[in-house]
Point group: C2
Chain length 322, copies 2
């Protein structure tokens, strides 16, 4: 059984509460959709690397996947997103009130799942503190993301801080949780956390690029979504910074007007991105985070083979095509 | 310093996080509004009765008040409620997205606050499990409450189960938490929990009555709100049960039509309630819960003076006029 298979097995055998139906049907709906399951895999991987029992790690692994799905339910309300993983979002399939409440209950269920982990009370409290800190920071990241929609000037530094909170801290939290469960040293825990932060930043920048440059066939979803939604992504902020006056006016115009044909708008923006070499510059930044991540790997007490596993993971996530 | 004073002191000195402002300003806004602060007082009372250090109990006490306020932020979105404690609700003062997110962060901050309690890891985990169970059940209660708005037939039993989840479990959770912190016996913990359930049920039925029968001057808020919102309260369900065909048709008509003058509707419904002696019947039920609560007090190992404190508390909350 590969880790993924047994993880799916674990998800499929989570006790499915059913009443009240309008509360738990959305929870079971989103949890059974699958998705990449990156977060639980990070928990399992870190736990395994530092020698914890995989079966025990299933509890925090599932907890983080539940936490992630809770944020998706609420984010989709805020973003008016109709589709997620090729299916109707919870708020669209039911309604906003049900989505608020089923998100709320899923967040608590996530914490409840974490509290079931078979380990010492001290380990459990350490994992709980990290879990809650992560939950709080993810909210902060989402708030900055919402703020940026109407904020005229967003610096690249502000953007990186936002994606650190919104995306990276959860990947970092997953990795550190596995290490905590395995009783890894404080130094190893911190190195793994920083590794997760750098991995997460690279991961999100790849996401930003894929929205513009993905191969539609392998990507599996429509490209250009961020441009349509006027999201101030890393390539966009970079373009603004490097643009001459004409390009800057054009960009700002496209990112504030609803009047253009989707395809025309996408092509116009992409042409500016290309002219300013935004893809290459973003890739350069991704590689920088990758190098930082490699350094964090070096700081751990793991053996070479184990270190290679982490490096391969970082490489895979920063060079993904979907 | 009375417990209330020092509790206010504690609330006023909670570290106020400020960034992102749109996330934390609503949190600080609702937490500084005051309110009855019943929940933290229950934690403190139970902790004190069973001999815990009051200062340690401030942490779970604050945690439950934060949890309660999180539910208010989200409930007010769902209920489209513009006013709470005489002030604009969070979603009205800011917007729904900000209210969703600041509610989310407040729920996590509540758990974080609980995890700061100075006590043994075992005690902390026991309190955490109860806190999360409570959070989950409160969501279930709110979902039933939403469901009942459109559900044609609601039995009295279903209604009691809803208010048990929505209101009573949190009061019970507060009391039991104080007992856990004080290392009370399992028997005492359970007796206090059941006492809280009965207290909470009585508390909510009093709320239902006050909506119709409160003295406007002492009540401090507009009466008849539940009737305007077509809430299927205990007196309403009782009235439906006891009504003759004419009264039943009238009631159902008033509870589905928006066309009436507020005052006219209120008076018409109240006349039916009076004719069917709903006030007296509800008071009878309140007294029953009060007697159950007294029995739970007897099951504890507390001394007579301490038992009297709990009985007085139950009496005060079931005979309140606001």
């Amino acid at each position: 059984m590969t880790p993924e298979t047994s993880l799916d097995h674990f998800f499929n055998h989570l006790a499915q509460t059913t009443e009240p139906q309008n509360l738990y049907a959305p929870v079971n709906y989103i949890m059974s959709q699958g998705g990449k399951r990156i977060r639980p895999q990070l928990v399992l991987l870190a736990a395994e690397l530092f020698g914890a029992t995989t079966e025990n790690a299933f509890f925090p692994a599932t907890a983080y996947e539940m936490l992630h799905n809770f944020t998706l339910i609420h984010d989709d309300i805020m973003d008016n997103a109709p589709i997620r993983r090729g299916k109707e979002t919870v708020y669209k399939k039911w309604n906003s009130n049900i989505a608020i409440l089923s998100g709320d209950v899923l967040a608590s269920m996530a914490m409840q799942q974490l509290l079931k982990t078979p380990c010492t009370p001290e380990t459990l409290i350490s994992m709980s503190n990290l879990f809650i800190q992560t939950s709080i920071e993810v909210c902060e990241g989402q708030q900055y993301d919402l703020d940026f929609e109407t904020q005229e000037e967003v610096t690249i530094e502000e953007y990186i801080n936002m994606i650190r909170l919104k995306t990276a801290v959860m990947l970092a939290g997953c990795l550190k949780t596995g290490a905590i469960l395995a009783n890894a040293s404080q130094k190893d825990q911190n190195a793994l956390y920083q590794f997760g932060i750098n991995l997460g930043l690279a991961f999100q920048l790849v996401d930003d690029l894929l929205d513009v440059y993905a191969d539609t066939e392998t990507f599996g979803k429509e490209i250009g979504g961020d441009i349509q939604a006027h999201k101030k992504t890393y390539p966009y902020l970079l373009a603004l910074q490097k643009a001459n006056n004409v390009q800057k006016t054009q960009l700002q115009h496209y990112f504030s007007s609803e009047q253009y044909d989707k395809k025309e708008k996408f092509n116009a923006v992409k042409t500016i991105f290309d002219a300013l070499r935004c893809k290459e510059e973003t890739e350069k930044r991704i590689d920088e985070y990758l190098i930082y991540a490699y350094k964090n790997v070096e700081e751990t007490s793991l053996n070479n083979e184990q270190k290679e596993t982490l490096r391969q993971l970082a490489l895979k996530l920063s060079k993904r095509s979907k």
